[in-house]
Amino acid sequence: MSLPKPLMRGLLGKRLRFHLPIAFTLSVVAAIAFKYTVTEPRKKAYADFYKHYDAVKEFNSMREAGVFESVRPTGE
């Protein structure tokens, strides 16, 4: 019937000292992971797309397909 007195104080501080470094580290890891799995590949995809992009050729292909209202395909 004689138990040791339980911890009465500092409970929040103890929890924070344990969880805050973990939370901080995991957030940073998540940000770095997002950067290298999403943003860097996306930047590269855009760079590669525009490296050899011929706007006039694309315009003419679209015109021939008939999607514009201001210019009709060359046949008509």
Partner: protein, 173 residues
């Protein structure tokens, strides 16, 4: 016959007086639904607020009263049974009794599924009797023409749909 009503009236008066006296005890002794007097300190069994406003048994028998007197002295002199009796005077349930698991979750889950199923029936009826006709734009032929137009317009050419189409060969990459 003339004397009977007066006897019954006397009995009613006695019963009403005892009902008024018994309300602090809060036992369901009379026929009406018991009303809790919220202006008086209440007793409760809760894990999150463990100390109620009043002792569980507030009307003590003589033996209980003498035990309460003994409690005022050194506690080492109390036997184990006496300590347990004192606890049961102050509290109805112990913490393990309060925390006992029940099968209520089965009832809850069953009720949830019953109502989900009923809602499903309602939605089914609604689809048949309420919804308007399916728009023609969902037909496969229209969807094909729509996709072709998206590719012609070069929708999402960098990472999206048009980037997956090979324009030279006229097929998906």
């Amino acid at each position: 016959m003339l004397r009977l009503p007066s006897v019954r009236l006397g009995g009613l008066v006695v019963r009403r007086a005892s009902a008024a006296l018994s309300s602090p005890v809060r036992m369901a002794s009379h026929e009406v639904s018991q009303t809790v007097d919220m202006s008086q300190p209440m007793y409760w069994d809760r894990v999150d607020t463990p100390l109620p406003d009043r002792r569980y048994k507030d009307i003590l028998t003589d033996s209980e009263k003498s035990l309460k007197q003994k409690e005022k002295g050194p506690w080492a002199q109390l036997s184990k049974e006496e300590k347990i009796a004192l606890y049961r005077m102050s509290f109805l349930q112990t913490f393990p009794e309060m925390k006992q698991r029940s099968d209520e979750w089965k009832t809850v889950m069953g009720g949830i599924f019953i109502f989900l199923g009923f809602t499903g029936l309602l939605v089914w009826w609604q689809r048949i009797h309420v919804y308007p006709q399916r728009p023609h734009t969902f037909d496969p032929e229209w969807q094909e023409k729509q996709l072709q137009r998206m590719l012609d317009m070069r929708i999402s050419p960098v990472e999206g749909i048009s980037s997956k189409w090979d324009y030279e060969k006229g097929q998906w990459k």
